[in-house]
């Protein structure tokens, strides 16, 4: 039952309480920073956490939310002397759960489980890493970019957003990522797959790391398979537990259904059905 090879940092086997340090609006999104006193300081980019407000989780639209919600960590800053880690999450308010989390204030409790799932695997020496993020999907790309930079791995970052308001999230990146928007209100008016195609045609000896809405991931997949470029896609799926207990979060793969939360969320594009 050992799976030593997968890029996964183990999680403590219980939900714990982190302290919200701050909630900041970043364009169309909320950036929540929470101090995790117990969890590992080295989650792998692409891994995620199950989050819930520590109090009054429920009583929203149609009496929800009830279950915790899955969020990729966008940044992890270890505190000196193993005092824990400050975790950042980038949220888009799309329903009662994200809405409630966006209402959290500094000092309030955030219930958290993780890190969960498997993250991105590092590029081979001969592979140029290309990072592609769409909308709220930039969250895992942010920490992946941080890590590759820290290791001096040169990796272009291509981001796509609905509008300039959403694109404000690009400012979170250390470098100056390439930005496309659907409405051209900032950066290039294009789908992010256009600059990706250009990059890949320039030099196909690459590996693509992508996270974003399904249509975008489908386009990335198609493009990469057409050009024979390997890709790692960070998927989303409706989840109840996040650690493989409910079998609810399945995606179709070459050999049957796989659980996004334990077999993913990062999958090799080739492995998907």
């Amino acid at each position: 039952m050992s799976v030593a090879t997968e890029p996964r940092t183990l999680a403590p086997p219980e939900r714990r309480i982190a302290e919200v340090k701050g909630v900041e609006r970043v364009g169309a999104y909320d950036l929540i920073v929470a101090r995790d006193p117990i969890g590992p300081a080295d989650p792998r980019p692409g891994q995620f956490y199950m989050l819930a407000a520590g109090e009054r989780w429920g009583g929203g639209d149609r009496e929800r939310p009830y279950l915790p919600r899955a969020f990729s960590f966008a940044r992890a800053r270890p505190l000196p002397g193993g005092q824990g880690v400050d975790l950042s999450f980038l949220l888009e308010d799309v329903g009662p759960g994200t809405h409630r989390l966006g209402e959290l204030a500094a000092g309030e409790p955030l219930a958290l489980l993780g890190p969960l799932g498997v993250g991105f695997t590092r590029p081979r020496q001969d592979q140029r890493a290309l990072l592609v993020g769409g909308g709220i999907g930039v969250a895992p790309i942010l920490c992946w970019d941080d890590e590759l930079r820290a290791d001096a791995v040169e990796a272009p970052v291509l981001l796509g957003f609905r509008s300039a308001r959403h694109a404000e999230a690009a400012a979170l990146f250390a470098g100056s990522p390439d930005v496309s928007t659907d409405d051209g209100s900032t950066g290039r008016r294009a789908l992010v797959t256009e600059p990706l195609r250009a990059e890949l045609e320039r030099d196909p000896r690459a590996i693509v790391y992508a996270c974003g809405p399904e249509p975008m991931l489908d386009a990335v997949r198609e493009l990469c398979s057409a050009l024979g470029v390997p890709a790692q896609l960070a998927l989303e799926a409706g989840m109840a537990c996040g650690y493989g207990a409910c079998f609810g979060c399945v995606v179709a793969t070459a050999d049957g259904y796989a659980r996004v939360c334990v077999d993913g969320p990062v999958f090799a594009a080739e492995a998907l059905a």
């Binding site: 939900r15 279950l67 109840a240 334990v262």
Partner: protein, 293 residues
């Protein structure tokens, strides 16, 4: 925590997991050996195993509702042969007794399943998931006392291991079904399984779940469970394993007060993998507080 005798099997405490709500193998991948050091349950119940492998239902399989969850997982599993080969050895490493849940779509299947899993020393108990459609009538076997008794007889003849009959809450008279199971050789009954429910897509109002309908669980069904456990416990002499919406020690105490011998935690584990342990601790504290006074 005080020990519990469940059909001759000694448990360190009264908390089980509901079948299909905890995958100890996946959880060990996620949590490592810390899971075994702080294992949340006093007895582990496997996901329901069928004779043939099953892919399960097409996604989406989950819908969150008011204080509850509707699922249409569809019993995905490796099938008996590969379960015994691949999973049983890992499950045998768990620090608690093992109960294997099985479902047969015919009496022959059921007998084969029970005989096969019952033959392993690692398997302390066998649970029969009776929430399966009768292939002819389409109705649930577990909804009918006679069909339930027939299923139990088929299973009883195939093993000496303690047999737990997992009842469906969709029966008009759950106590009658429980009595029939007892009469046909069940050593215990467990309830409730999920209530039938159908969520619709918020935009299209078409069925949300890939399988159209699913099963409702969680706090929303808790008091339905307390009522059915109470009426079943009043009717049968064998132990009752109560479950349905248990989220805290008081919920577990409610089911024990209603006549249950042990309590299973399902959906609450999705909110916290350690829920079973927390609930057991709360219950123990609660019970010693009551003894004290």
């Amino acid at each position: 925590m005080s020990e519990v005798d469940l059909c001759g099997v000694t448990l360190r405490g009264p908390i089980l997991n509901g079948s299909g709500t905890f995958d100890a193998i996946a959880a060990r991948r996620v949590f490592g050996d810390a899971l075994l050091e702080r294992f949340p349950f006093d007895c582990f119940v496997s996901k329901t195993i069928t004779l043939q492998p099953r892919e399960g239902n097409p996604p989406p399989r989950l819908w969150e509702t008011a204080s509850g969850l509707v699922n249409s997982i569809g019993l995905p599993n490796k099938g008996l042969a590969r379960f015994l080969e691949l999973d049983l050895p890992s499950l045998a490493e768990l620090p608690v007794p093992l109960c294997v849940s099985v479902m047969g779509f015919s009496h022959e299947e059921l007998a084969a399943l029970v005989e096969a899993v019952g033959a392993f020393d690692e398997v302390s108990l066998v649970e029969l998931n009776l929430s399966c459609p009768n292939v002819e009538t389409g109705t649930l076997v577990g909804a009918d006392p006679d069909e339930t008794a027939a299923a139990l007889r088929a299973a009883r003849a195939s093993t000496d291991k303690p047999l737990i009959a997992k009842l469906t809450p969709s029966a008009a008279d759950p106590a009658g079904v429980a009595a029939a199971a007892q009469g046909a050789g069940a050593d215990a009954v467990s309830l409730i399984n999920t209530l039938k429910g159908m969520p619709l897509h918020p935009g299209t109002h078409q069925p949300w779940l890939g399988a159209r309908t699913g099963g409702l669980s969680g706090p929303a069904v808790r008091l339905v469970a307390v009522e059915q456990v109470a009426s079943v416990a009043a009717r049968v002499a064998i132990p009752v394993i109560g479950m349905g919406g248990v989220a805290c020690g008081r919920d577990a105490a409610d089911l024990l007060a209603a006549g249950a011998t042990a309590v299973a935690v399902g959906t609450e584990s999705f909110r916290d993998p350690a829920a079973g342990r927390r609930i057991g601790d709360e219950l123990a504290a609660f019970q010693s507080a009551c003894k004290a006074t």
